[in-house]
Each structure stands twice: as structure tokens, then as C-alpha cells.
Amino acid sequence: MKKLLLLLALVVIVASEIAVLSSFHTINTNNISTNNWTSGSTVVVISKADYAYLRVEIEIIPPVLMGQSQTVLIFPNGTQIEIPTVEHYTFSVILPSNGFSPGSFGIQSEGINISDNHPIDVELLSNSTVFQSLYSRIDWTVPPYSRISVYWFLVQGNALVNIQGYGVGL
């Protein structure tokens, strides 16, 4: 009897572990590939459900043109970084979890595609002005937008953008 109880407990543990494993996600590969060529003004939109933790590793490789880089990163706070030609510029964006958030939801709009099945998302949009105007018009205090976190930055000029992102929604 003790052995049967132990076996039952182990089966419950395995089932729970499988449930936990299902909460790990990679970024939506339907919308983005690992290596992306950008030109002009491209906006990289990183979004997640409030209960998810997201880590995105970004590598930007500018093309060398007459020995000068023409690639500039522009962040929402106004910071601008010119990427040196000989370097692979790498940085991480971490959007931490905002805690427990019951109830299901889903958002599908310009640059944001989040659902309970896929609570993390990264998208590249070639038309940055459409996104920026949409972003400024959204009321972020009202559901469902109050239940997501969004971070974005602009890549100005040509570059090879390598993006890898993974997260956990618990």
C-alpha cells in the first residue's frame, strides 16, 4: 500500500512538472526569424503578459559602408546609440513578471500578439510611425492593455538583427 501511495505521489509530481514545463516559451517564430535584415526605420516591439517573465537577447550587426556605420538605435527615452561598424552590438531586454494574474485574455494588434498559449512576443515592424501613433493612443490603464508590458526601440538604417527570446509564464 505504501509503495502504491509513493507511486501515485510520483505520478502526480511528474504530471505537475510537465504542467510547469509547458509554461516555458520561446518568442513567436511565426512573426520573426532568428536573423532579420532591417532597412530604413524598423521598430522592434517586445511584449508579454503581465504574469510572464521575458528575456530577449538582441544582436545587431551593421553593414560596413565606406568604413562608416549608418545604424543607430533609438530607445523610447530618447537615448541614441550609433553602432560601431566593427562590432556586433549585443544587449538583453528583460521584462520581469508583475505577479499573479488570473483570467484568460488575448491581444492581437499592430506589433503585439499575445495570448494565454503564447504570453511572450517580439515583432519587427517596418512602418514605425503606425506603431508609434497606435502606442501613444492606447490607454494602458484599461484591460486588456493593462495586463501586458510592452517595450520597443527603433533600428535606424540597415542592419542584421538577430533576436532570441524566451520566457516563462507562471
Partner: protein, 222 residues
């Protein structure tokens, strides 16, 4: 029947009972085997969770965290060790069964044979044979299932390598069916042996029942 013949028959009979004792231990160890296998699956899943957490929170990049269905090499090792420990544990339990304890009594000759026959608890022996039969069959099934789980993950690793080199991808059904067929083919000898052994245990049980009724009806005079 000469005394020599009688002792020979009795040796055969007691050896068969020892085998039943062994199978009974096997039946008892089957639960342990299942526990060890499920525990190794739990250990693998726990390790997978830890690796995923390290990837997500510290960016170690051990594996692709979303691909939880893919078995990395460490998972293969954990399951392999689990199956090995399970088989070792069952063998140890089976070997712990005390064998040939009757040898010294049997050396006494005909009186020893009668003593042994009188000491046998027939109903318990019948029950032991039935239990041993069940354990013997179930252990075979559980062992095949364990091999199947192991083969499934091994196939996952191999198909990953094949996919990488030859750009061939196996679908989910092939990943389940191919390892199962492979394990069944490789276990065919064991399955046949088990089938025959169960038949032998059946005949043994019926012979014993007949012998028991004959033995009860006979009066022994000194």
C-alpha cells in the same frame, strides 16, 4: 519407485518451487521497478525545469527553452541510469530469494522427502504460483514499457542528429511507433520465454493440485 528416483523427483519439484519463490520476489520488486522508472522521469523533468529556469533568468542558453518536448542529452542519461538501476534492483531482489534450503533435509532420503512434503503449505504454494505468474507477466510488460520510454527518447536524440545532417524530419507518430516496434522486435525472445514459462507454471499448478489431492488420500505407514 526407488529411493534415488524419489529424491530425483523431489529435487526437481523443490527446484521448481524455488523458481516460484524467485518469481514471487520478482512480483514484489515490480512495484519498486515502476517507482524507480517514474522517479527517473520525475528527476529528468525536474532537471529540465532547472535548466529552463537558468536559461530564462540567467540566459545560459543550455537548450531552447520552448522546446520542452525535445530531449537533451542529459535527459537521455538520466533515463538510461533510471532503467539500469531498476533492472539492477529487480535482479538483486530476485537473487535475495533463499534457494536450496531443503537440500540438507532431502539428503536424509525418503524420510526427508516425506518431511518436506508434509511441511509444504499447499494453499500458500498455490497462491504463490498464481502471484508469481502475474508478477512474471507484469514485469515483462513494465520492462517493455520502460525500454519503450528509453527508446523513444533515444530516437528523439537520433532523429535530431539525422535531421541536422540529412535534413530529414520524423513526424510525431513515427517517433512513437518506430521505438515501440523496435523494442517489441528486440524483446521477442524474452516475450516467448515469458509465454512458455507462464504455460509451465500453469501445468505445474495443476500437477501440484493433483498431487496434493493424492497425497491427502494416501496413508503413510512407518
Amino acid at each position: 519407485m526407488t529411493e534415488e528416483n524419489l529424491i530425483g523427483k523431489m529435487t526437481e519439484f523443490m527446484t521448481a518451487l524455488d523458481q516460484v519463490k524467485k518469481y514471487r520476489e520478482l512480483a514484489n520488486a515490480m512495484a519498486d521497478f515502476a517507482i524507480i522508472i517514474v522517479a527517473s522521469v520525475a528527476a529528468f523533468a525536474a532537471l529540465n525545469i532547472i535548466v529552463n529556469l537558468l536559461d530564462v533568468f540567467y540566459g545560459y542558453g543550455f537548450i531552447d527553452p520552448g522546446s520542452t518536448g525535445v530531449l537533451p542529452f542529459y535527459g537521455f542519461v538520466v533515463l538510461f541510469i533510471g532503467v539500469l538501476i531498476g533492472i539492477y534492483w529487480v535482479q538483486r531482489k530476485m537473487n535475495s530469494a533463499k534457494m536450496k534450503q531443503w537440500e540438507s533435509t532431502l539428503n536424509e532420503g525418503t524420510p526427508g522427502v516425506l518431511k518436506l512434503l508434509q511441511e509444504i503449505q499447499w494453499e500458500k504454494t498455490f497462491s504463490d504460483i498464481r502471484f508469481a505468474k502475474l508478477g512474471f507477466v507484469l514485469y515483462g510488460a513494465v520492462k517493455i514499457m520502460a525500454y519503450w520510454i528509453f527508446a523513444f527518447f533515444l530516437f528523439g536524440v537520433l532523429s535530431g542528429i539525422i535531421g541536422n545532417i540529412l535534413h530529414l524530419n520524423f513526424d510525431a507518430i513515427s517517433s512513437i511507433v518506430i521505438p515501440l516496434v523496435l523494442v517489441l522486435v528486440l524483446s521477442m525472445k524474452d516475450l516467448r520465454y515469458r509465454y512458455e514459462q507462464v504455460g509451465r507454471l500453469d501445468s505445474f499448478l495443476w500437477e501440484l493440485r493433483w498431487f496434493d489431492s493424492e497425497f491427502r488420500r494416501t496413508d503413510f505407514k512407518a
